[in-house]
Amino acid sequence: MQAFNRLVIRHQQAAYDLALRMLRDQDSAADATQDAFISAFTHLSQFRGGSFKAWLLRIVLNQVYNRLRKQRRQPSESLEAMSYDEDAPVLHIHDTAPGPEQVALSKELMACIEAGLGTLPPDQRAAVILSDIQGMGYDEIASVTGTSLGTVKSRLSRGRMAMRGYLADHVELLPPSIRHYFERIESGKSAPSDG
């Protein structure tokens, strides 16, 4: 039990973050995360080695999809509602993107990005979250989603293109340093040679 709880502490943030961004509701995400950990403990004998995080997130994703199916059968409040409002608990910012410097995100921009993620179909949303927020490689994403590499590439490509279009529609929220990239999309003009 202690050893398992160490794993829980190590991976609970990733698990909860995935559930939250997919379900877009804090209570549902907490329930899904807890159920996923209980299920993981109960079925620990089925873990055959490899990435425990990938195995765990697959269980989380299954819990998420179960709840999304139920929500589709009983649509209630908008799935666009997210936790990034002024009264929400403070988000602890992690450096999730190694390499290039991070862009400082305003609350409005974060809300815009979350809203953009919410417009994606669940499979594309999961691919983008696992790749760009969880920092997983394609093999791990394929393991988590139970799909092939080609499917991962396809979903990620379509998901990012959709996000790109969504941000282009809300270019006013983008930092000035990057706004011009998307303004060129808006104008519909081909970009001058960047040389």
Binding site: M1, V8, Q13, L109
Partner: protein, 263 residues
Amino acid sequence: MTSGNTRPDNGITHEQVLAEAASYLDGELSREESARIEAHLETCPSCRQVLATLRVTRQLVRSMPQAMVPRPFTLEQAPRRSALPALFFYLRAATGLAAAAFVALFAATATLPAATSTPGAPVLQQPRQAPAATGALERPTASQPAAGAPAATAPARAAAPTPLGAQAPKAAPADAARAAATTPPAPTRAPAVTSPTAPPPTALPAPAVTAREAEAAKRAAETDQGDSGVALLASLQAAAGVLTVSLAIATAAVWLAHRRRSP
């Protein structure tokens, strides 16, 4: 701007570039594939612009902070392994047993009346009436409200052909035990009240009536027991049927719950 399907000199289309853009940005392409895309980008401003916006999009999403957990998700105690699989197994077995019991009881109920009842005997109605109906006396109905009277008429009839009291004591042992147990002592005039079709008492010899009535009483007792047995079987059969249906519903509910909780 070239159309999406035309091939620049490096042999890759715009659509192929856009389809591979995400993999290219993530470094998931082979060296050769990356080189082809870079060669295309050098000559295609529109694709370069798309790549640039995709790169920025990816960076923005990657800049999103992970949400803090609202509470620890550690397990305080080992969760009880779901009892659903075992429960499903036992419920299914119990349902099968209940169904088998129901079928067996149904078969027994269907065959038992033929084995225990005598022709013409109203086996399920008034057992007390049986002797009067099955004995030498043609007593037609078993539904006389004065239940004691027909039973009591046997000893009375037995006494009828003879002087009062002379033969009755002999017939009484065969019948009175039953009659006394269930009915008050019968008046000697009972035959006139309840047996319209009974032959005149004077027509029956006393010893034959006694033997016949003893035999009828014995058969009546057996039928009594048979009737009671059939009723009991019918009750058990009904109970088994209800139990089978209840267990089947419970089994289905547990199965559905187990399916939902699978990881």
